[in-house]
């Protein structure tokens, strides 16, 4: 492998690679604007200029292929001078918007100006006047004055989504970023342009004027919206989720995520969240405490488990719960010899980029945990048939997907005949309204665990916010029910349960949280994946 020297340190680099990514991967922070690891090389910003021995002028590192024996210097007076010059010219026409710009705190212009720029402003002339607060799409706003013309967004729309909505018009001093006429920035990944924009020119409407980024705490997690499992960072403050941003994972989502998934965090903060269990008494649902609710559910399950002819219980698992929680769910049904278990998952459109058909992150994981009909049991929709006929007396439903996917008439008939419908969900859904026992569930942002995506990649979530009043998570609820039905209540601790999974399920052998790591772990039998449902 070729060897190069940067600032006196020798580094090995793959031949043909460009200098800038090699430097960044080795911890040398060369400032840059227009270069992005997943977009084509532009070479327009001139910020990554460095000194390369043998070259009479400074070279841009983003477009400099490495050569064996190359000697690079990034801290010489010439380099510092060049950076200062670039910064000064970029700031000459930049509006004094920092106090009102959302990007403050994560703005590369601020960072590089403070680190490399000139100390004192030399110009005071009025800045050029362009369009501000321009509505360019259903989810995006453009401020043309702030744009530094790095063209990352243009290349994104051209190379990644192929939709070509953005372009730089006019030339030279009059260049301006704009949407193509009659083509709003409306593709399914439009907010990614706000991620890659180094300044506050492209902003997402969802986060516009919401909160200052320096308040936000960041937790690594996985998007819950579809089976792709894009890696995300959940940004939270004071136990509310304020936004999600994609995290780089070259095996899953590169550096992107779709708009729908990104905006699908509102339910976490919803004021309609169920916080207390409900029990049906005298025809309507009343709030009760946890002990009572669990006891009510357990009583029904215990009774129906001993029904002649086998347990008259059906269970519908949620594809939104983690593997650990679903494992405990499966243990519960095995303990009761319940074979009618299935997963309900909403299926929708998919695309060629990231969006997958299954609109839940862990349907594959739920199936892997064994939440499928066993011998002698039935799956969906046969389970609802059996309930409508009175053969199934108790139905335990987790998640909202059953309401969306089942035949509405059949479902209503089933509910009529059921002796006990237990629903575990995050809000008081229409299905919960018909239930006898309603148990509050927690969202992805409030739990630690793992999801398995469509391709058999196990990825981990970390708890970002704390539910109020020490609300128990779904795994804890399943554990309590299991503990009342079986001797010795197994405590619910995600890392410990993952070890149980690793011991019980061959495909997950040897798995621990550390091994899953921040970028996930591909199950060895990924090729033999359970086929995903299609639209």
């Amino acid at each position: 492998m070729p060897k190069i020297t940067i600032d006196g340190h020798e580094i090995e680099a793959p031949s043909g690679a460009m200098l800038l990514p090699v430097a960044l991967e080795n911890g040398v922070h060369i400032p840059h604007y227009c270069w992005h690891p997943k977009l084509s090389i532009d070479g327009s910003c001139r910020m990554c200029q460095v000194e390369v021995e043998g070259s009479p002028k400074l070279v841009i590192a983003c477009n400099m292929p490495i050569r064996d024996g190359m000697v690079v210097r990034t801290k010489t007076p010439a380099v510092e001078n060049a950076r200062r010059g670039v910064m000064e010219l970029l700031l000459v026409n930049h509006p004094l918007d920092c106090p009102i710009c959302d990007k403050a705190g994560e703005c590369l212009l601020q960072d590089y100006s403070f680190a490399f720029g000139s100390r004192v402003a030399r110009t005071r002339e009025p800045r050029r006047k362009l369009q501000k607060r321009k509505d360019i799409g259903p989810r995006m706003i453009l401020d043309q004055e702030r744009c530094i013309l790095c063209r990352r967004c243009v290349r994104f729309c051209r190379e990644v989504t192929g939709t070509n909505e953005l372009g730089v018009f006019n030339m030279g001093d009059r260049s301006v970023l704009n949407v193509m006429p009659e083509a709003p920035l409306a593709n399914d990944y439009s907010i990614c342009t706000a991620d890659i924009c180094p300044v506050g020119a492209l902003e997402s409407k969802d986060f516009h004027h919401k909160l200052r980024v320096w308040f936000l705490k960041k937790t690594e997690s996985v998007c819950p919206s579809c089976a792709n499992g894009c890696n995300v960072t959940v940004h939270h403050y004071r136990d509310r989720v304020w936004r999600m941003m994609p995290r780089r994972n070259d095996a899953v989502n590169e550096t992107w995520m779709c708009d729908h998934g990104r905006l699908n965090y509102q339910h976490v903060n919803s004021p309609d969240r169920l916080r207390q269990p409900l029990l049906r008494r005298n025809g309507h649902l009343e709030p009760v405490d946890w002990e009572e609710a669990i006891a009510a559910a357990t009583t029904q399950l215990r009774r129906m488990a001993r029904a002649p002819g086998g347990p008259a219980i059906g269970a519908v698992a949620s594809p939104h719960l983690t593997n650990e929680e679903n494992f405990r769910f499966a243990q519960l049904w095995r303990a009761l010899n319940v074979a009618s278990v299935d997963v309900a998952v909403v299926v929708g459109q998919k695309d060629a980029l990231l969006i997958k058909a299954e609109k839940a992150a862990n349907a594959r994981g739920a199936r892997d945990m064994g939440l499928l009909p066993g011998p002698g049991g039935v799956g969906l929709p046969a389970m609802l048939d059996a309930a409508a006929r009175g053969q199934l007396r108790v139905l335990y439903v987790c998640g909202p997907d059953l309401w969306e996917t089942a035949d509405r008439q059949l479902l209503e008939q089933a509910i009529e005949r059921l002796e006990c419908l237990i629903v575990q969900d995050i809000v008081r859904s229409p299905l919960a309204e018909r239930a006898h026992v309603v148990l509050p569930s927690l969202t992805f942002a409030e739990k630690t665990g793992t999801f398995t995506n469509f391709a058999g990649r196990v990825q981990r979530l970390r708890q970002a916010i704390q539910a109020p009043n020490e609300q128990p998570g779904d795994g804890e609820i399943f554990s309590r029910i299991l503990g009342q039905l079986v001797e010795g209540r197994p405590a619910f601790e995600p890392a410990a349960v993952l070890q149980e999974i690793a011991a019980a399920i061959p495909a997950y052998a040897g798995l621990t949280f550390e091994r899953v790591g921040p970028l996930g772990y591909a199950l060895p039998s990924a090729a033999a994946a359970v086929p995903e449902a299609t639209a």
Binding site: L91, H94, L96, C98, P99, A104, G105, L109, Q110, D111, S113, F114, G117, S118, R119, V120, A121, R124, W214
Partner: protein
């Protein structure tokens, strides 16, 4: 000089000195924990080193590293006027180290504080109990894994654990009963002064065993004003700690600000411009005058001389008018900044100073006429509260309290900083070290401070008053409003703070009560990893029990007043 100290230490303990350092000129040596007592004895006794004064004992929690805790001793030599930082590491599961109280008796309270805050056991310590916090407190708050918001279980009357009204006060259990019999074979009586007592200005509790009127044994309990200064500073940026330093010695807040900012500037390795240094000296001496006026006046008040107290307050009002004009606050000044001061001298300041200070000194003249030769005042103060100078040094006492005993230790003279080496002033010293000497020293220092201020006003150079590095000092306000680079610099400074390079420094300056020292450890981020304030009142209050032992109860009051324990400084 630092190299000579370290060389000598390494020569004597070649295997036990693990590392030496002279970062930013501070001599620093790491030694093995088991050998700390031998090293301490050597450092004190060796004629070339003579580290007779324990300045500070504290610890740093390097959570995640093995060994976890680093215990840091700061030492000073009153003969050679040099410093040393001695460090040793102990692991989490065996956080014990031999106590150095056999070598320096002043390490007693400092080690108690380190036990209280970090949970480090000092073997051989005569009385290792918590000093700031109550015994039922759970945990050691300065550890990095102790969250700032953690709540403690309730104690006291009415709580589940507390005593009910009418029971023996639950916290009087600390002191062991003295077995001495009183005269006539009587029992000793235990009285408590404080924590809420008109004669102790500053909350402190003195539990005294009396034989008649004579104090046989006393225990001074501090910590009633402990507000978690260090923990608070660790959770904020460097610039946010400055208002907290105001609240250390709130009688002379500017001196506390100055020490802190000098320490941060030392971390950066920069010096403020000359005009700024002169202004800092002027402001500091004004603050010193305010403190001394209060001390002398309050002492008089507690000896029942009410009039000199009012004269002193009047003089202090005149001084405070100057502080007010400078920074807008009379008590909590928040004046000094990292790399400068918050604002230059206002127009007409020199005239105001030249008008007010002579008036204040005229008040001082009247106070002296009422007090200095007054028989009652003399009888209460003369010959009271003495300790030999060597003992005071071993306690770590400094400032006017030590100078009254005849020891020439004034950091403005011994280790000049800012522009103290360019002005002429006298350092008054006492002879007997009793309360009268302490009073006379403070009165003399008031006049010397006025002299320094006058010289500085005359010598004040023109020029910039702030450092021009925007990575250290915030940009000028008028420029932030209209210039792009300055706006960005303001944003970065406020949201991320200035980031000194990783390292540790100690800066000791002469505040009104003695050496106020700041030990800062930087990890390269905008928040200090450790922000330790070594406060003179803490060390000065330690020998109080020894000073009043065998004296009458009434002698406690002037002794305590002349120590000038400022609650905020003692308890942080």
């Amino acid at each position: 000089m630092s190299d000579a100290i370290l060389d000598r230490l390494q020569q004597r303990f070649p295997d036990d000195v693990l590392a030496v350092d002279t970062y930013r000129g501070d001599a620093s040596a790491s030694v093995r924990a088991e050998r700390i007592l031998d090293v301490a004895r050597f450092l004190k006794d060796d004629p070339g080193l003579r580290f007779d004064m324990p300045i500070d004992v504290t610890a740093v929690d390097y959570i995640g590293q093995q060994p976890r805790f680093e215990i840091v001793y700061h030492l000073y030599s009153t003969t050679h006027h040099h410093r040393l930082r001695l460090k040793t590491r102990v692991p989490q599961d065996n956080a014990t180290v031999p106590s150095v109280t056999p070598v320096w008796v002043g390490a007693n309270w400092l080690e108690r504080e380190t036990w209280d805050m970090y949970g480090i056991r000092f073997t051989g310590h005569p009385d290792l109990r918590r000093i700031y916090l109550y015994e039922e407190f759970e945990g050691h708050p300065l550890r990095k894994d102790y969250p700032k918001e953690k709540r403690q279980p309730l104690i006291g009357p009415g709580s589940r654990r507390g005593a009910s009204v009418g029971d023996e006060h639950p916290y009087a259990v600390d002191l062991p009963q003295t077995k001495v019999e009183g005269m006539l074979g009587s029992e000793l009586m235990r009285v408590q002064l404080g924590p809420s007592h008109p004669a102790t200005h500053g909350t402190v509790r003195i539990v005294a065993d009396l034989d008649g009127e004579t104090i046989v044994n006393a225990d001074v309990q501090v910590g009633y004003l402990h507000r978690g200064f260090e923990k608070e500073c660790e959770s904020g940026f460097y610039y946010q700690a400055i208002p907290y330093t105001d609240r250390l010695n709130y009688s002379s807040a500017i001196l506390c600000n100055t020490g802190y900012c000098l320490a941060v500037e030392k971390l950066f390795g920069i010096e403020a411009p000359p005009r700024c240094q002169f202004i800092r000296v002027i402001a500091g001496e004004i603050a010193r005058m305010a403190d001394h006026f209060l001390c002398v006046g309050a002492t008089a008040l507690e000896l029942n001389a009410f009039t000199p107290f009012l004269y002193a307050l009047q003089a202090r009002e005149l001084i405070w008018d100057l502080v007010d004009a400078l920074c807008g606050g009379r008590v909590t000044s928040n004046y000094i900044r990292i790399g400068g001061v918050s604002a230059d001298l206002p127009a007409g300041f020199a005239d105001l100073a030249r008008a007010n200070i002579p008036k204040a000194l005229a008040q001082l003249d009247d106070m002296e006429r009422l007090l200095t030769e007054n028989p009652i005042f003399r009888a209460r103060m003369e010959g009271v509260g003495m300790l030999p100078a060597s003992e005071l040094i071993a306690y770590g006492v400094c400032g006017p309290l030590l100078r009254a005993a005849g020891v020439d230790l004034d950091l403005r003279r011994a280790q000049p900083y800012l522009v103290y080496d360019q002005v002429d002033f006298d350092v008054p010293l006492g002879s007997r070290g009793d309360n009268l000497d302490r009073y006379l020293v403070r009165v003399a220092e008031l006049r010397q401070s006025a002299r320094i201020i006058e010289q500085c006003l005359r010598m004040l150079p023109d020029g910039p008053v702030d450092s021009d590095d925007p990575a250290i000092r915030w940009p000028g306000k008028s420029r932030v409003f209209g210039r792009m680079e300055e706006l960005i610099d303001q944003f970065k400074q406020v949201t991320e703070g200035c980031k000194p390079p990783p390292g540790e420094v100690y800066v000791g300056t002469e505040s009104a009560n003695g050496e106020i020292g700041y030990f800062l450890v930087s990890d390269g981020t905008g928040k200090p990893y450790k922000c330790r304030a070594r406060t003179p009142s803490f060390s000065n209050t330690q020998p109080l029990a020894a000073m009043i032992k065998g004296r009458l109860l009434a002698d406690l009051v002037p002794t305590f007043d002349m120590i000038n324990m400022i609650g905020g400084e003692c308890d942080r």
